[in-house]
Amino acid sequence: MKISEETLNNISALSKIKIDDDIKPKLIEDLEAIMAMVDEMNKIDTDKVEPMSHPIGDAQNLREDISDKNIDRDAFQKHAPKTDDGFYLTPKVIEQND
């Protein structure tokens, strides 16, 4: 399975990780090697098999609808990178979104 630079750019954009140009070739090489190993999966026919997303089936942990008002905002924000007046701050986002 070949991975083009364009594909690498797409997945690094989706996963929000900046990749410097100089490491791209080696990275692509490694990713291709991993995907080649992954492609071994194709050697087995799984048409009639159901996918399994959880190793255990019977935990049904539910919560009662009771709220806990003990939220210590200051403790949670004590080591946050950038806050002001209880808000978390990020670089300004231009568009409106809610």
């Binding site: 954009a13 989706l14 929000k16 997303s53 959880h54 255990i56 089936g57 019977d58 935990a59 049904q60 942990n61 539910l62 919560r63 009662e64 609808d65 009771i66 709220s67 806990d68 008002k69 939220i71 905002r73 949670f76 924000q77 950038k82 002001d84 007046d85 209880g86 808000f87 978390y88 701050l89 990020t90 670089p91 300004k92 986002v93 231009i94 568009e95 409106q96 979104n97 809610d98």
Partner: protein, 482 residues
């Protein structure tokens, strides 16, 4: 404005309604859901997406979703399976939203709307549970955006309609019907101004007769019934104009600006289009038993349609009046509490839908904030029903009831609206009026019968509307024939 003939265009609309469920705690964390709290004081460890935290499902959200599904006769899934919807945005702390994809808890159902006296069935494709995102405020700081995660994790029921709506009016009717359903079921307070109910509209046009759908745009940021109609109508016209002028409709998301009454494209969002959904590994699929569904179905509260019909048969009011009284659960309860205690429920309907509603509109508020209580309305209606208070007098009283803390009796007395019952008083009043209006008296005696009304009016004026009309009639007849 285009002068082309819009009637050759068919509009196709689908609505996605996000309903905030009225639970005490959030869907996956036990933080409170109270509205309007200081920023980030309702964001727990789980809501903040700190390393090592895990979601646990609030059982009430399942019950509420099932309630809704039963009310619209939809299939309820036998399992609740959640999925991660992956994208980056500061108001989405984990970098993914826990939602549902392939197995929505509520499957296909339908909702009946009434438009121009016609009934129409609107299909519901699905309704699923998901968590709400927080809020980003872009105007608080010059160089930063401010993130408040209080809302992050609030339970949402996303209700997706089939593209069965054909006009802005139908869309509003559908939205109002959903609103009344969710309030009657008590799963949400449906308050659009607070964001408990949010609506996105998918709008496209095509020529009548075409079976293919045109490209659709998604209109976001509509936060009132009024704006739903305006936004959709604006978008329809915009699309018609574009196509008529040779352009094509881009499939895009547009934001509605209520101050300018226009839609404009959203800048390409930071959201990737590829959400890479996969089953949420932190939540085991939940089994929903047939017994549980049956129990919820059997215990559904009275739905708006049923209540509407029942009001007509129980209280002798018209369908139209009943429809309006059932526009919200609170109003229907207000009416029923009164109707049960007064002699003429039809009067209650008239006064609630008339003068009381006028007052609510004047003060831009809803029945839950009415300054006039049940008790007051009952007292007032009793006085109207036993004719100790006339129509005009009652109108005055109801206005004053809103303004003051006084009781009905106190206001009546203060305004001298106590009925002048005494015949003697009325006779004396009439005598004075005859003396003061010799010309009219002459004319009446000469045969101008119409002037009877004039004299009645004068008596009512003199008595400040409080004279018993029946008595006035009798005495006046007597006096004028002398």
């Amino acid at each position: 404005m285009s002068e082309v003939d819009n009637s050759s265009w068919e509009t196709v609309i689908g609505l996605e309604i996000h309903v905030q469920l009225a639970t005490e705690s959030k869907i996956f964390s036990n933080a409170p859901t109270t509205f309007g709290q200081p920023q980030n004081t309702q964001a727990s460890l789980v809501d903040l997406g700190l390393p090592g935290v895990l979601p646990v499902l609030n059982k009430k959200t399942i019950e509420m979703a099932i309630k809704f599904g039963c009310a619209i006769d939809a299939n309820i899934s036998s399992r609740a399976i959640f999925a991660r919807k992956n994208y980056f945005y500061p108001d989405l702390p984990k970098g993914y939203q826990i939602s549902q994809l392939d197995d929505p808890i509520v499957g296909e159902g339908e909702i009946e709307i009434e438009i121009d006296n016609r009934k129409k069935l609107i299909g519901v494709t699905r309704a699923h549970l998901e968590e709400d995102a927080g809020k980003s405020l872009h105007d608080k700081y010059d160089d930063f955006s401010a993130i408040d995660l209080n809302r992050a994790g609030t339970p949402l029921l996303e209700i997706v309609s089939e593209p069965d709506l054909r006009s802005a009016k139908e869309s509003v009717a559908y939205l109002k019907k959903v609103h009344s359903l969710i309030t009657f079921l008590e799963i949400s307070d449906g308050d659009m101004s607070q964001g408990s109910m949010r609506c996105d509209a998918n709008v496209s046009i095509r020529k009548f007769g075409e079976s293919e759908y045109g490209n659709r745009t998604e209109i976001k940021n509509i936060n009132s019934f009024k704006f739903v109609e305006k936004a959709i109508n604006h978008e329809i016209q915009r699309q018609i104009d574009v196509v008529e002028n040779g352009g094509r409709i881009e499939q895009e998301t547009r934001l509605y600006d209520s101050s300018k009454n226009e839609t404009r494209p959203m800048r390409s969002k930071e959201h990737a289009n590829d959400y890479r959904y996969f089953p949420e590994p932190d939540l085991i699929p939940l089994n929903i038993s047939k017994e549980q569904i049956l129990e919820i179905r059997n215990n559904l509260p009275e739905l708006p349609e049923e209540k509407k019909l029942r009001f007509v048969s129980d209280y002798g009011i018209s369908e139209y009046e009943s429809q309006n009284l059932n526009s919200s659960k609170e109003l229907s309860m207000f009416f029923e509490n009164i109707a049960k205690k007064v002699r003429y429920p039809k009067n209650a309907a008239k006064w609630i839908l008339g003068d009381l509603t006028a007052l609510l509109n004047k003060h831009n508020t809803e029945i839950k904030n009415s300054k006039i209580s049940y008790g007051n309305m009952i007292n007032l209606l009793n006085k109207i029903d036993d004719e100790s208070l006339s129509g005009p007098g009652a109108k005055k009283v109801i206005e004053l009831l809103w303004e003051s803390e006084s009781s009905v009796d106190e206001i009546i007395h203060a305004e001298g609206l106590d009925h002048v019952q005494d015949e003697g008083d009325i006779e004396r009043m009439i005598d004075t009026i005859i003396l003061e209006n010799p010309k009219q008296y002459e004319q009446f005696k000469k045969g101008k019968d119409k002037l009877f009304g004039f004299f009645v009016g004068q008596v009512m004026k003199a008595s400040k509307g409080s004279a018993n009309p029946k008595t006035v009639n009798e005495v006046l007849k007597k006096k004028l024939s002398q």
